[in-house]
Symmetry: C2
Amino acid sequence: MTLVKIVDVTPRDGLQDATGYVPVADKVALTRDLFQAGIHAIEVASFVHPRWVPLLADGEAVLSQLQDLPGELIALAPNLKGVERAIAAGANTVTLVVSASESHNKANLNRSRDETLSQLTEATRRAHEAGLKVRGAISTAFECPFEGVVPINSVAFIAERYCDMGVDELGIADTLGTATPIQVKERVCVVQSIAPKIPLALHLHDRLGWGLANVAMAYEHGVRIFESAVGGLGGCPYAPGAAGNLDTEKLVTFFQAQGLASHIDISQLPGIRQRLLNVIAQQLAPPN
Amino acid sequence: MTLVKIVDVTPRDGLQDATGYVPVADKVALTRDLFQAGIHAIEVASFVHPRWVPLLADGEAVLSQLQDLPGELIALAPNLKGVERAIAAGANTVTLVVSASESHNKANLNRSRDETLSQLTEATRRAHEAGLKVRGAISTAFECPFEGVVPINSVAFIAERYCDMGVDELGIADTLGTATPIQVKERVCVVQSIAPKIPLALHLHDRLGWGLANVAMAYEHGVRIFESAVGGLGGCPYAPGAAGNLDTEKLVTFFQAQGLASHIDISQLPGIRQRLLNVIAQQLAPPN
């Protein structure tokens, strides 16, 4: 049976754009629920400066309560300082981020791609030294909210730089949710030609209902790692118009119908979604 | 630019399961609207015995009012008698139908696959003699409502028989709407290996939201003809649980985002959908 790996990004990406703050205990419970259902790679924290995404200032607290979980505890880290915090907090995997488009990188990280990349070499070295796995994510790998369709060469350029750093996994993200299967194919193939031995992940949003078509095309061309979020939650605060992430339940259902991802107990997913929606609803309810 | 052909099946397949009867004038107007929008292959009539699908007893009347239309006017014909009627009525293309599964063929056509196929050889000869194009459709090419997943060999068997008859086009139909991309790939590839030079059409239903994923996979493996219906209307009266057809607007939007099917004026499609829904709504309204 062919292995498909689901990376659930709900505790971090899914909730960073939420209307209210989700308490640490609920993020921890959500992560444990996902792990229990068979999803063993979960993005739980972000170590961007809390000034930028205040809702995610609890990365250390979340990770401290998950240290017994024998899975991939992923933390987003935009720079060396973020990596240091992720190491100290007990993440075992960091996801670095660079946008393929300059404007989005500046909006998202407040510096140029070159400045970002030059920091990340040291960040990767440091993470590896501490025994962490390093994922190199390429944001706006399809369309940029400010620049439009992103040239494939920009994606290739970032992929090459990540390769030079020695990352363990690459990822391309359809930040806006406008990717089409033909674009997925061309971008997946170019990254794979640059880094044939580095596993490649795909992060999709589902704005136009094309998410699963993109998944199918990526799978056909060798991608085996897919990111998704419970209830399709999430969106990028620095990408106006971005829709939610690809829905975990929808993705797993789709794979299981094809004999894939059968290690996940899909019967647990509706309950996980409902519990999370209840938590969010509590934040939205007016105070008594 | 790669050619993609949309076959809109609304006037026949889309409306055969409608709650009320749609008048001939409205079917004719719908067909002309679709043609005007750039969809030049339209399934307009069915010549099954009117006892079985009374709503479609008007095939002759519909076709008689479309004789000036320089497009592909397609009529469904289940047997030799149906082909004779299609010829007499002025269709220029007939779609023959056999189910890959025996039970569905009996439910749909009231006879066995072998009996059906033996009639269709003569039907094909007769249609060709009269200058018509012949399409050979394989129903339940994925799952049968009575037998479950249909063995791929059953699909191959029907495709081979159609080839022996000399049909001009082949088609495989996901009658129930349960097909997955991996199944689409394997079934498309087996039919293409049997008939590499005969154009292959795909007829999808969209019950589970996997329609476009299946389209993407079929396109990737060389399929260039896709059937759809306005508003996702339609379903098979002899396939309990079948959902509507793949939606024409959704399909064209998806293709155009990829630089395909640009000969279709998508701006006309919402109006066509609305006019048709108004017609159907009139049938549903209680009499004064």
